[in-house]
Amino acid sequence: MNRIETNKFRKPGGWKFLLSGLLILWAAFPVLAQVEPSVKAPTAEEMNGEATIKIDPELYSQKALQKTADLGTYLAIISDRSNSMAEANKAVELAVDLFINEDAEVEVSGPEGRNRYKVRAYLNRLKLLEYDKIEISWTDISYVSDLKKGTDGNYYGVITLQQRFKGFKDNEVVYGDVTEKNIEVMVVPYQKAADGVQQQKWDVFLSDVGVVVTKFDQ
């Protein structure tokens, strides 16, 4: 059985969150310039579902948590009214590229219960939020599961973490909560030709995002 051991106790780069958060407050564009665009999901031709691949558990963990951190960064940019529509749209595209495809769904919870949106619809909804800006950060502790191989040859895992959300109006926090979320991740092996040689590669992509519970209002 293909089982990949992972290091489950990872801090998702606390200083990177702080830096990103400060930059969001002062200027969004430099953040866009600093955050590296994600690699798009490989095409069907590039995927090699049957190949045996070695996935370094530390690297998998780092990449998965980095993509989660990037998502938080983009969400804040999208919903910041001080950014231009062009900047918000660019952040939407970069955020979509974090996901395996646009069929991935994001669950949100609200007073009426839970709803699920395809990722692009979810991101576009963020532009319509009532806040002037939002801050999204992830708490330090996250659970990263082992990877399990699916019948399609890709590997599946989950990250469980707590998301802190603050909504601002006129520079004041008008809403805050801590939500526990499950983010399904996929590790996709693929082959890439480089200098005429086929190389075995893999990358991590986000998939469905589910809400476990909203813990409390701040």
Partner: protein, 286 residues
């Protein structure tokens, strides 16, 4: 899905042994309850919470899991044994668990000669999922029994083994005239048209051995686009692979360290009892 039952272990029938066992359990959970500031820290509660069934497996098997590393990093003087990890996997507020049975279970699992480990790929554990669906436009409940199936390429997937829903049941026959009389053959079974004209009475025309297999019916209703999915309302996991025991794991979302996916029921069971358990597992009241 969120359980709010509060039932104190100490309210169980008191014997000296049970009281002693309860005290031992509470004492061994001392690292989890010793400092008031820990309790108030939601991030620490998050570390303690059994967040996924995968994490449940890790703790059960005493792997290098998040809580052990967290405790090692924050309370280096603490060493968590497998026994303590196993105890932490019980819902302390469960009214269904006898402490003496819990300890016996832990002792059996943790035996030095051949400690037992659970595997995600074991074939005797199941997920029971309660889902809300729309059937012909109306909200209905659907129960699914799911298991992990391995494929030849080394991959695996969750599959649906059985389903139960009242809208998939063939209605009970109340009309004593709904049957094909013993001379039906004489008219070349022309009375068969009644079966098709009165589908609500179909059971009267079926063998007494007929078993209502609802999964094929669900498949047909799906293909006819009569059923659509709304959401999962509840999940419980049922473990039958430990010799002599059945236990169930459910999710308890609460602001405590004893939270997440925890053993809520534990019962001694032999092979016959396990078989009977499986036969009624999908009934809504379990």
């Amino acid at each position: 899905m969120i359980h709010k039952t509060k039932y104190n272990f100490l309210e169980l029938k008191n014997t000296k042994v049970i009281s002693g066992v309860v005290l031992i359990l509470l004492f061994l959970c001392f690292p989890f309850a010793s400092q008031a500031q820990l309790y108030a820290d939601h991030e620490e509660n998050f570390a303690y919470e059994v967040k996924q069934i995968d994490e449940f497996f890790e703790r059960f098997n005493n792997e290098n899991t998040l809580i052990k590393r967290y405790l090692s990093n924050h309370y280096s003087q603490l060493e968590v044994s497998r026994e303590e990890l196993l105890k932490s996997l019980f819902n302390f507020q469960s009214p269904y668990i006898r402490p003496e049975e819990a300890l016996r279970f832990i002792e059996q699992v943790h035996q030095q000669e051949n400690p037992l480990r659970l595997s995600f790929y074991d074939d005797k554990w199941f997920a029971k999922v309660k889902a809300s669906v729309l059937y012909e436009g109306k909200e209905r409940e659907l129960f699914l029994l799911m298991s992990v199936q391995e494929e030849q390429n080394g991959g695996s997937k969750w599959v649906i083994e059985e389903v139960f829903a009242d809208f998939l049941l063939a209605p009970a026959v109340k009309d004593s005239t709904a049957f094909l009389n013993p001379m039906s053959h004489a008219t070349d079974f022309m009375g068969l048209n009644k079966v098709f004209e009165n589908p609500e009475k179909v059971k009267g025309y079926l063998s007494s051995d007929y078993q209502d297999d609802q999964l094929p019916k669900l498949v047909m209703e799906l293909q006819n686009k009569k059923v659509s999915f709304r959401e999962v309302e509840d999940i419980s996991y049922h473990f039958l692979q430990v010799d002599g025991w059945i236990f169930t794991v459910e999710d308890f979302q609460r602001q405590e360290k004893n939270a997440g996916w925890l053993i809520n029921r534990l019962m001694p069971a032999n092979a016959t009892e396990k078989k009977a358990y499986m036969e009624t597992l999908l009934q809504p009241e379990i």
